[in-house]
């Protein structure tokens, strides 16, 4: 009887232990991806590298570990059904370029941010959240990574910076867009944002 009890305890410990280390593995993978992306921007000898080249290298680092389609599909939501296959492919690609451009441009001229992962919260066997702090130019920001297990494995499905969810923000913009416009107009708008050098080019009252 006691022998069986010990066996059960051993199994529970092994299963629990392996699950905990699987979760820790996700945290390690996340931190490694963030650091690899920052290395591209801040490594010595990158001052001569063009922004586009940096964006491309960051993309390679991120896509080696995560499928960016997941977070973009979450942002698009049901608007996905309002696009044909060609438009979907184009929108996915343009949004990826937009995110990478924002990331590389956003860090331009700044010292390398210090990223520290905090508490890992397992919500269900398919959802977890990893807290982090980012110290950038002396200021501390709180960033939460939401990870979900989908058919392609554990993927980032939302990033919440200082209480603002990136997915919720883009979902609202896209919902508003599709209430008034269509996929072709969205593609044109994304291309316009990507091509713009200065954001105040079209500012007028």
């Amino acid at each position: 009887m006691l022998h069986n009890f010990y066996k059960v305890m051993l199994c529970a410990w092994l299963v629990g232990g392996s699950s905990a280390s699987a979760e820790q593995l996700q945290a390690d993978k996340l931190l490694a991806t963030i650091n690899a992306s920052l290395d591209v921007i801040y490594a010595e000898g990158t001052s001569g590298v063009s922004d586009q080249e940096k964006q491309s290298q960051v993309r390679q680092k991120v896509e080696a570990n995560y499928d960016l389609d997941v977070i973009i599909r979450r942002a698009i939501g049901r608007n996905w059904q309002l696009m044909d296959d060609g438009e979907r492919t184009q929108v996915l690609e343009l949004v990826k370029q937009l995110v990478l451009k924002a990331y590389v441009n956003g860090l331009k001229g700044k010292t390398r941010p210090e990223v520290t992962l905090g508490k890992l919260v397992v919500i269900t066997d398919k959802r977890m959240e990893i807290e982090s702090t980012v110290v950038l130019d002396g200021k501390t920001y709180y960033v939460l990574y939401r990870l979900g297990r989908v058919s392609s494995g554990w993927q980032i499905y939302d990033i919440v910076a200082e209480n603002v969810s990136v997915v919720s923000n883009y979902r609202e913009q896209l919902d508003d867009h599709f209430r008034r416009g269509n996929a072709a107009e969205l593609i044109a708008r994304l291309q316009e944002i990507l091509e713009k050098e200065d954001i105040d080019e079209d500012t007028k009252i």
Binding site: K101, G138, S151, S168, Q173, D176, L190
Partner: protein, 253 residues
């Protein structure tokens, strides 16, 4: 008892509804697990009450023009001629002066620990930190920076709803509750009317101080504004959602 007469039109309509409903249900159940996940509702911040959207959009466009065409060149000039430590010091100085607003925000919500930390920070930064230019309190564990509280957050903690979303001329995104909070913030701010301690100064000096505060606090705000606008598909929607999420998060904390 009256027996209802068979009506073929009603019957056909019912049959059609049944077919539509089952087709719809089949469509929904045919979604893969991934698709269901992608289509989930994401946040209640996506249904902000915005009955004044037409006016708000116009005000947003006006503010955008002023920020980028008038304000941004001024801020760029200021950052170009001001060494970084001076820029940081000026920003810290004005941040320190807003202590009464943060204190009131904490006290009105019964956050005594927050009020204590803010008071300690103010005392340390105002003395050791040379009138708030430096922030030595940041290095002390007991007085490390905490999230700033304001009167708008206090109103929310009393159960007052957000009210309609508003875009205020020059000040930017807000809502009716936060507009009330803004009035409260001014009332406890020693540099602002109606209880200003500098009200006996000449208007030129008052204007100079207000202008300096605005410029000193602006470089980081302008940077954030430009970075948000540069990646927005619909900048108005993005700002409305971002502001609402940010404020709701601040209230919940």
């Amino acid at each position: 008892m009256k027996i209802q007469k068979f009506n073929p039109i009603t019957w056909l309509a019912a049959l059609a509804s049944l077919i539509c409903a089952s087709a719809l249900s089949a469509q929904v159940t045919n979604l893969t697990e991934d698709e269901s996940f992608f289509y989930e509702d994401v946040s209640p911040a996506n249904d902000v009450f915005d009955p004044l959207e037409a006016i708000n959009r116009y005000t947003f466009q006006f503010n955008d023009f002023v920020y980028l065409k008038v304000f941004d060149p001024l801020v760029a000039g200021y950052t170009a001629i001001t060494p970084d430590p001076v820029e940081r010091g000026a920003s810290n100085f004005f941040q320190n002066l807003r202590y009464p607003v943060r204190l009131a925000g904490n006290l009105l919500q019964g956050r005594l620990k927050g009020a204590w930390v803010e008071t300690g920070r103010f005392a340390i930064n105002s003395t050791v930190g040379l009138a708030g230019i430096l922030r030595p309190a940041d290095t002390m564990e007991a007085f490390a920076p905490i999230k700033p509280e304001d009167v708008g957050q206090a109103l929310a903690s009393w159960g007052i709803g957000e009210g309609p979303y508003l875009v205020l001329p020059l000040l930017g995104p807000s809502n009716l509750r936060d507009l009330g909070g803004l009035v409260g913030d001014r009332a406890v701010n020693p540099l602002k009317e109606p209880y200003s301690v500098i009200s006996h100064w000449n208007w030129e000096w008052q204007l100079a101080l207000t202008g300096t505060e605005l410029i000193a606090r602006s470089p980081s705000m302008m940077e954030q504004y430009k970075s948000f606008k540069g990646t927005a598909i619909d900048p108005y929607s993005s700002m409305r959602n971002g502001y609402t999420q940010f404020r709701r998060g601040a209230v919940e904390e």
